[in-house]
Symmetry: C2
Subunit: 382 residues, 2 copies
């Protein structure tokens, strides 16, 4: 099915994506991180917003380094970003896929001894791109653990054959600046970087190796966490990198759902599946063409809301697959008619606020944004 | 981005969709509902499984009536289903879109006076398809409420011009056979049907009008709920229509995620974001290339599981965007290596079981199934 629809009359919902806001967010983070370079993480289709639109817009703004999660994502993005722009793949080469990295000029992040070994086998080919080494410093998810790293440094895994573009790790608790894990991971990273540098970047070829630790929230832990390259993702798309402070990022999406039907209801009327909501008063309901199949989470029930003319209307009953019901009793009836829009995400009620109502995080609200939305891109770069 | 990938070596996860299972489920439901006819609900891209594959397979098996939610979905499906197969659009025509229904030979479900009025304007054209009328009997979501229905029957909204193909309503509590709402809705439906028949189906043209009340669970409420046409959706795709009984439906999907990395960890090791999990024992972890951006809900943390060689392994830490971590300490290390698969959904741990672990319903597990999965269709119809 096509991802982008273009006929608004039949649109049940419109997702507007503001490429200028994403570019502004990237510039803010880049200034904050300077003199470190600022990459952009565009994995998961740019957190659901469309990597094919977002990445070229950021490249035009000066971004020279992109991260995706999977080889598939890298292959789709490569033709859209002319070299020397670099694209690194965080999950690294799955067994049997190293050659495809080389063929598509994608930089692998090497996470374990097997990936290093696979890469060493093709690293001597002239066409092989350089690689990044990932040291796990406390996340236990991807990256070499300490004994593997020690063994790697002893040269037992073919590491010498590899041209290194970077040395990286990933913070587990960066959004909480008081968490002791941050300093611990930084300390391990520094130690690893020193040992890596001594063994691997002596040659001319690897002297451009970049040290990279911070993602979005890590940038706000201060200069000590920036090293050579920062890798923001979520903050580009409007997620607050410091939940305990006001959000410095612009919202990148606006979501509006179309009213399908408006009805008057009596007190005591059961609403939605399971008759889970009973009207406590006589009133008016609007049924909107957005449901959990569009990524508007079922866990929004019954805390979510929408806005009509700037005024909040509560979500009632259960979110269903294609529809959600709002109590619009307090709204001027002239504003509430089939075909009119309600606001589901805007600058004030953004992805973090929606996430709080759904019991999740802004990242998941973004990546779940649905395929049935009519997508409209705004901004110079669109 | 392409929805279907074909290169398994780089696949981080493989979603297998069993079209034969879906066809078997449809036949089981059709037998159960006979002599009522059995439609198929393929909205939300056939609950995430691919309407372009599922609908033709069901048409080949004899299904003659399909329901989608939106006009966009109907337009995509129409070229794949040769007439006389009928496609009805549950949300009905949004303002300004009635002509497109006619142009694409899609039957609108008319839910409110405005939709009836819009349709009446084009109903006299020779090319206009017939319509279904939706009476709300207790859901307060879509469909005419009682006063609107009464006014419609008085002919105030142009209803006489419309050729009727059906009269329908939707049950709110059908999965709980003891819920009093079921009998109440059926009673209102019967009353509405009698009044509708007296006014609207007297003419030859509308004598083939079908009465339809039951979706998946409604079929299991018994013969009294079947009327002329039943409309199963979820049960086709493996959701149990009677949660209090063993599931009579086959699972239609199998999901396998690929291991990216395996690591040994010490007691006390922090795992994943927020260092939310601390290892209570020395052990072994496997990081799998499936995350919430693939629709594997973050709310799976920390109850979810996977299987390796038929043995369950617990999900630990938080599901992250592209990755999930499992404790594989109890598994033969020979089975746990990068590139090997873990089972996330299978016949035994199906969509309902996964939903229970994620705090949602099987429907949402299905519709969230991700775009990064390499999709493989099985079955004669594929």
């Amino acid at each position: 099915m096509s991802l982008i629809f273009e006929t608004p009359a039949r649109a049940g919902a419109v997702l507007e994506i503001d490429l200028d806001a994403i570019v502004r967010n990237w510039r803010l983070l880049a200034r904050r991180a300077a003199p470190a370079a600022c990459a952009a993480v565009v994995k998961a289709d740019a957190y659901g917003l469309g990597a094919a639109k977002v990445a070229p817009a950021l490249a035009k703004a000066g971004c020279r380094f992109f991260f995706v999660a999977t080889l598939d994502e890298g292959i789709l993005l490569r033709p859209l970003l002319a070299e020397p722009v670099e694209i690194a793949v965080l999950n690294g080469p799955l067994p049997g896929s190293a050659e495809e990295f080389a063929a598509h000029r994608l930089l692998p992040v090497l996470n374990d001894p097997g990936q290093i070994e696979d890469w060493a086998r093709i690293a001597s080919c002239e066409a092989a791109p350089p690689a990044l080494l990932h040291l796990d410093t406390g996340m236990a998810r991807l990256g070499l653990c300490e004994p593997e790293f020690a063994s790697f440094l002893e040269g037992g895994r073919g590491g010498n054959a590899i041209l290194w573009r970077g040395f990286m790790s990933h913070l587990a608790c960066a959004e909480d600046p008081r968490h002791p894990q941050n300093a611990l991971q930084r300390c391990r990273f520094l130690d690893g970087l020193r040992r890596f540098g001594a063994v691997c970047t002596g040659s001319d070829a690897s002297r451009d190796s970049l040290a990279s630790l911070a993602a979005s929230s890590g940038i706000f832990l201060g200069r000590d966490y920036h090293f050579d390259l920062v890798r923001p993702g979520a903050a580009l798309y409007g997620v607050n990198p410091q939940p305990q402070h006001p959000n410095p990022m612009r919202q990148a999406v606006r979501l509006r759902g179309k009213i399908v039907q408006v009805r008057e209801v009596d007190r005591g009327q059961a609403v939605g599946y399971g008759a889970a909501h009973l009207m406590a008063h006589q009133g008016r309901l609007a049924t909107v063409a957005v449901g959990y199949a569009d990524g508007w989470p079922r866990s929004m029930s019954p805390r979510g809301l929408a806005k009509i003319g700037g005024k909040r209307v509560p979500l009632i009953g259960r979110v269903s697959m294609d529809l959600t019901i709002f109590d619009v009793s307090a709204i001027d009836p002239a504003l509430v008619r089939p075909g009119a829009f309600v606001d589901l995400l805007d600058e004030e009620y953004g992805v973090d606020q929606a996430a709080a109502d759904a019991g999740t995080i802004g990242y998941e609200i973004l990546t779940a944004l649905g395929r049935r939305y009519h997508r409209v891109y705004h901004g110079e770069a669109s």
